[in-house]
C-alpha cells in the first residue's frame, strides 16, 4: 500500500539500456504521447512512400513500373496505414501529451492502460507491416469489400487479408482502450474550476472523438471477425453463393467507416480552435457553438454511413434519406468554419508557422467540404463515386484537413513537448511546399474524376485525356515528399539547434502554458485558478477582479480533505503493458496460421497475455 511518490528518473548519466528500459516501462502520458507521435510519423512516412510509388506508376499511361498485384497491395496498405497507423495515432499522441495538461491533470486516468494502448498500436502496426516480409500485403482495399476480401474471386486466395483483419483488430483494441481512457480523463480528472464550458476546444474535440471510437469500432470488430470466419472457418456471412450478403459487410464497415472520418478530422478542428485564438490574441468566437457542433457532428456521423453506398442499389428512398442526413451534417460544419473566420476577424494575427497551417487548413477544408456536399447528392454521386473525384475530395479533407491541422499542432506544441522550437524558416518552407504540392496533387483529381478516371486502377489507357494531369499529380506528390523531408530535417535540427523557448512562447491561453517546457513528470507545480476558458491568459492580462495568484498544486489538488494532501504520486513504471500487447500479437500470428500450427501460437499468446493481465491486475490492486 505504498503511496510514496515515484518520480520518473532523469535520464542522462544512466546507460543507454537503462534509458530504453525507462521508455519501455513508462506510464507517463507525456512519454507515451511522444512514443505515439514518433511511431506514427514513421508509419506516415511509410504510407507516404507507398503513395509515391503509386503516383510514379500513374505518372504515365500504360506504365509498367508496378504490377497490378503490387499496386493493389500498395494502395490497400497506403489507406490502411494512413488511417489506422498514421493519422489516428498522431491524434492520439498529441491528445495524450496535451489533454491531461490542458485539463490540469497529473496523468491520464489509467496510465498503465495508456501504455498498453501504445504497445498494441505499435505491435498492431508491426503485425500489418510484417505482411510485406513474411506474406502477402493485404490487397483488397482498406475498405475490404466482400466477397473480394473473403474469397479473392477467381484467382487463388492468399492470407493477405487475414493480415488485414487481425491487424485491424489489434489496432482496434488499442483504439477502444485509448478512447475509454480519454473519456474518463476528460470527464473525471479536470482541475478544480474547469467546468465543461471552460474546457479547451481541443479537449472537446478529443472527447467527441473518443466517444466516436467507442461507438464505431465495435461495428468493424464484428465485421472483420465475421470476415475472418468466412475466410478460414467455412462460414458464409458475406459469401453470396451460400446465401451470405456482401451488402452486410458494406453496412457494417461504413457504420464504422463514416464516424472514422470524423475520428480523423475532429482533432484537427480542435487544434485549429486552439491555434486561432492564440495567434490572433482573441478568444475563440462562438465557443459554445463550436463545442456543441462537434457533438452534433459526432452524433449525426452515425446516421449518414450509407452515403458511401449510393451506387449499390439501395433504392431511391434509402438514398434520399441518407442524402438528407448527409446534407444536414454540412450545417454544423459550416458554422464551425464561420466561427473560425470570425476568430481571425478583428484579431492581431501573429503569422508564425502554426497559423500558416491553420489558415491553409480552412482554405483546403472548405474545398473538401464543398465537394463533400456534392458527393452527398445521389445523382452526382452516381457519376463521381469511385472515381478520382472522391480521391481528391477526401484528400482535401484528410490531407488538407487532418494533416495540415496536425502540422499546426506540431509547430504549436513542439516547444512544450521538447523544450525546443522548430525552425520558423524551415517551417515556412515546408508549409509552402506542402501547400503547393498538395493542391497540385489533389486538385486535378476532381477534374480527372469528372472526365471519368476510375479510382484504384493500376494503370489507364492512353488517349483518355488523363495523361497531363496525372503527370502533374505525380510532380505534386514529389513536392509533398520534399516538404515532409524538410519537416523531418527540422525535427532533427531542432533537437540540437532549436531555439529554447520560455514556458509560454506563443502567449498561450490554456493550462499547458502554465507549466515548464517540457513539463515535469507530475505536470504542474503551480496551478492557475480556473475561472474562464483562458486561465493562462487571465493570469497575464486578466483584470484585477479576476486576477488570482496560482495556487500550490498540493493545495489545488485536494479541495477539502487534508488527509489527502500528501503530494502527488504517480504510478510506478510497468512492463506488463508491453507483455500483454506482445501476447495478443503472438495470438494474432497464431490466428494467421491457424491451419499450420497456429493454435499453439494462440495458446502461447494467451499465456503471455495472462501474465500481463495478472501483473497489471496486481499492480492495480496495489496502488
Amino acid at each position: 500500500m505504498a503511496t510514496t511518490a515515484v518520480p520518473v528518473p532523469q535520464a542522462g548519466e544512466r546507460s543507454r539500456w537503462a534509458t530504453i528500459w525507462e521508455w519501455i516501462t513508462t506510464v507517463d502520458h507525456k512519454r507515451i504521447g511522444i512514443l505515439y507521435i514518433f511511431t506514427a510519423i514513421a508509419f506516415f512516412v511509410w504510407g507516404g512512400i507507398d503513395a509515391l510509388l503509386l503516383r510514379i506508376q500513374l505518372a504515365a499511361p500504360e506504365n509498367n513500373f508496378l504490377s497490378p498485384q503490387v499496386y493493389n497491395e500498395l494502395f490497400t496498405m497506403h489507406g490502411t496505414t494512413m488511417v489506422f497507423m498514421a493519422v489516428m495515432p498522431l491524434n492520439v499522441g498529441l491528445g495524450n501529451f496535451i489533454v491531461p495538461l490542458m485539463v490540469g491533470a497529473n496523468d491520464m486516468a489509467y496510465p498503465r492502460l495508456n501504455a498498453l494502448s501504445y504497445w498494441l498500436f505499435l505491435f498492431g502496426g508491426i503485425f500489418l507491416s510484417s505482411s510485406y516480409i513474411i506474406g502477402h500485403p493485404p490487397d483488397a482495399g482498406w475498405f475490404a469489400y466482400a466477397p473480394l476480401s473473403a474469397n479473392g474471386g477467381v484467382l487463388p486466395k492468399t492470407n493477405a487479408m487475414d493480415f488485414w483483419v487481425i491487424g485491424i483488430n489489434i489496432l482496434g483494441v488499442s483504439s477502444i482502450l485509448g478512447a475509454v481512457n480519454f473519456i474518463v480523463t476528460i470527464l473525471n480528472l479536470r482541475a478544480p474550476g474547469m467546468k465543461f464550458n471552460r474546457m479547451p476546444l481541443f479537449v472537446w474535440a478529443q472527447l467527441v472523438v473518443a466517444f466516436l471510437i467507442v461507438f464505431a469500432f465495435p461495428s468493424i470488430t464484428v465485421a472483420s471477425i465475421l470476415l475472418y470466419f468466412d475466410r478460414n472457418f467455412g462460414t458464409a456471412f458475406f459469401l453470396p453463393e451460400r446465401g451470405g450478403d456482401p451488402m452486410l459487410w458494406q453496412h457494417l464497415f461504413w457504420f464504422f467507416g463514416h464516424p472514422e472520418v470524423y475520428i480523423l478530422i475532429l482533432p484537427a478542428f480542435g487544434i485549429i480552435s486552439e491555434v486561432f485564438p492564440v495567434f490572433s490574441r482573441k478568444p475563440i468566437f462562438g465557443y459554445a457553438f463550436i463545442a456543441y457542433s462537434s457533438v452534433a457532428i459526432g452524433f449525426l456521423g452515425f446516421t449518414v454511413w450509407a452515403h458511401h453506398m449510393f451506387a449499390v442499389g439501395m433504392g431511391p428512398i434509402a438514398n434520399a434519406a441518407f442524402s438528407a442526413t448527409s446534407l444536414m451534417i454540412s450545417i454544423p460544419t459550416g458554422v464551425k468554419i464561420f466561427n473560425w473566420l470570425a476568430t481571425l476577424w478583428g484579431g492581431s494575427l501573429n503569422f508564425k508557422t502554426p497559423l500558416y497551417y491553420g489558415v491553409a487548413f480552412i482554405f483546403l477544408f472548405v474545398i473538401g467540404g464543398i465537394t463533400g456536399v456534392m458527393l452527398a447528392i445521389p445523382p452526382l454521386d452516381y457519376q463521381t463515386t469511385d472515381s478520382y473525384f472522391v480521391v481528391g475530395h477526401f484528400h482535401y479533407v484528410l490531407f488538407g484537413g487532418a494533416i495540415f491541422g496536425l502540422f499546426a499542432g506540431f509547430y504549436y506544441w513542439w516547444p512544450k513537448m521538447f523544450g525546443r522550437m522548430l525552425s520558423e524558416r524551415l517551417g515556412i518552407w515546408q508549409f509552402w511546399l506542402m501547400f503547393i504540392g498538395m493542391n497540385l496533387t489533389f486538385m486535378p483529381m476532381h477534374y480527372l474524376g469528372m472526365i471519368g478516371q476510375p479510382r484504384r486502377t493500376w494503370t489507364y489507357e492512353a488517349g483518355m485525356g488523363f495523361e497531363f494531369w496525372n503527370l502533374m499529380e505525380t510532380i505534386g506528390a514529389l513536392i509533398i515528399a520534399l516538404s515532409v523531408a524538410i519537416f523531418l530535417l527540422n525535427v532533427i535540427l531542432s533537437r540540437r539547434n532549436g531555439e529554447i523557448p520560455g514556458d509560454d512562447p506563443w502567449d498561450g491561453h490554456t493550462l499547458e502554458w502554465a507549466t515548464s517546457s517540457p513539463p515535469p513528470a507530475h505536470n504542474f507545480d503551480k496551478m492557475p485558478v480556473i475561472r474562464s476558458r483562458r486561465p493562462v491568459w487571465d493570469l497575464k492580462y486578466g483584470d484585477a477582479q479576476h486576477f488570482t495568484e496560482p495556487r500550490d498544486v498540493k493545495a489545488a489538488g485536494s479541495t477539502d480533505e487534508d488527509e489527502h494532501s500528501h503530494g502527488i504520486h504517480l504510478p510506478p513504471p510497468s512492463f506488463y503493458p508491453i507483455i500483454l500487447a506482445f501476447g495478443l500479437t503472438v495470438a494474432g500470428y497464431g490466428l494467421l496460421y491457424i491451419y499450420s500450427g497456429g493454435v499453439w501460437g494462440i495458446v502461447i499468446g494467451l499465456s503471455i497475455m495472462w501474465v500481463g493481465i495478472a501483473g497489471l491486475a496486481s499492480e492495480a490492486a496495489r496502488d
Binding site: M1, T3, A105, N106, D107, A109, Y110, P111, I176, A179, V180, N181, I183, V184, L187, N188, L189, R190, A191, P192, M194, V214, F215, F217, P218, S219, T221, V222, A223, I225, L226, F229, F233, G234, T235, A236, F237, R242, G243, G244, D245, L248, L252, F255, G557, S558, T559, D560, E561, E563, H564, H569, L570, P571, A617, A621, D623
Partner: protein, 255 residues
C-alpha cells in the same frame, strides 16, 4: 449530485488511498466511469451481431436452411434465461453482503453466481451439442414453369413434411438434397446463431473468471466494504451479460 460527491469522497477516504488522483471532477470513481463506457461499447458490439442474425434470417429460410423454431427449444432457453436472471439476483446479493461487511454472505453469493454462470455455460454446451447432432434437409421444389423454391425441413419432421409438400405442389419436381447437420458452417442460421451465442458465452466465461478472481480475493480476506467497488464492477459486467441474454432470448428464441 451533492450526495454523490459526498459518497465518492467517503469511498475515497475509506478505501482508495489512492487511485493516485485527487477527488475527481465528476465526483465519480474513474474505474466505474470507464467500465460504463466500455459496457456501452459492448452494447454496440452485440447489436451488430444480433443485427447480422436478423438480416440474414430471411435469406437462410429462402435458401432452404434450417428454420430456427424447429431446433431451438423454448423450454431449455427459458431455463437458461432463468439461470442467468437468478445469477443476477445472487450477484446483487453478493454486493449487498460486501457493503454490509457480511463476509460469509459475500463468499456464498459470489460462489452461487459463479455456479449459476457455469450452469448456464453447461446448458449452452448441451444446446450446441444437441444442435450439432441434429440434421436438416433442403428440399428443392421445381415447378413446371421453372420456378424454384427451397424449403428447409428438420430431419425429425421429414417424414410428415414430405407428403404435405407433395400435396401442396402437385406438379412440381421435389428433390431432397440430403441430410446436413446443423453446424456452424452448413447454413446461415448456424453461422449467425453459433457466432452470436458463442460470443455471448465467451462473455459469460470471462465473467465467471472475473468473479472467481473476486471470490479468491474474498477468501483471502482482501474484500470488504472499503473496496466494495471490486465486487460492484464485476457485478456491472455480469448484469450486462445478463442483459444481452434478455435481448437474445427474445429476438432469437421467442420471435
Amino acid at each position: 449530485m451533492a450526495q454523490a460527491v459526498a459518497h465518492d469522497q467517503k469511498e475515497h477516504a475509506a478505501g482508495g488511498h489512492g487511485h493516485g488522483h485527487p477527488p475527481t471532477s465528476l465526483g465519480l470513481n474513474s474505474r466505474k466511469v470507464g467500465l460504463w463506457t466500455f459496457i456501452s461499447s459492448e452494447a454496440i458490439f452485440f447489436t451488430a451481431l444480433i443485427s447480422t442474425y436478423l438480416v440474414l434470417k430471411p435469406r437462410n429460410i429462402a435458401l432452404g436452411g434450417p428454420e430456427p423454431q424447429d431446433f431451438l427449444g423454448i423450454t431449455l432457453t427459458a431455463i437458461l434465461a432463468f439461470i442467468l436472471l437468478m445469477s443476477s439476483l445472487t450477484m446483487v446479493l453478493a454486493l449487498h453482503a460486501v457493503e454490509t461487511d457480511n463476509v460469509r454472505g459475500t463468499r456464498l453469493w459470489l460462489g452461487a453466481t459463479i455456479l449459476l454462470g457455469l450452469m448456464f455455460l453447461g446448458g449452452q454446451v448441451y444446446e450446441f451439442n444437441k444442435l450439432w447432432s441434429e440434421g436438416f434437409h433442403t428440399i428443392v421444389i421445381t415447378e413446371p414453369d421453372g420456378k424454384v423454391e427451397r424449403i428447409g425441413v428438420a430431419e425429425h419432421h421429414l417424414e410428415e413434411e414430405l407428403p404435405h409438400l407433395q400435396a401442396e405442389h402437385p406438379n412440381a419436381q421435389i428433390q431432397d438434397t440430403g441430410r446436413k447437420p446443423v453446424t456452424w458452417t452448413t447454413s446461415l442460421f448456424g453461422s449467425t446463431f453459433f457466432t452470436m451465442t458463442g460470443f455471448h458465452g465467451t462473455h459469460v466465461a470471462i465473467g465467471v473468471v472475473w468473479l472467481s478472481i473476486v471470490l479468491v480475493m474474498s477468501l483471502r480476506g482482501a474484500i470488504s466494504s472499503r473496496n466494495s467497488l471490486t465486487v460492484e464492477m464485476a457485478g456491472l459486467y455480469w448484469h450486462f451479460v445478463d442483459l444481452v441474454w434478455v435481448a437474445i432470448f427474445t429476438l432469437i428464441y421467442l420471435i
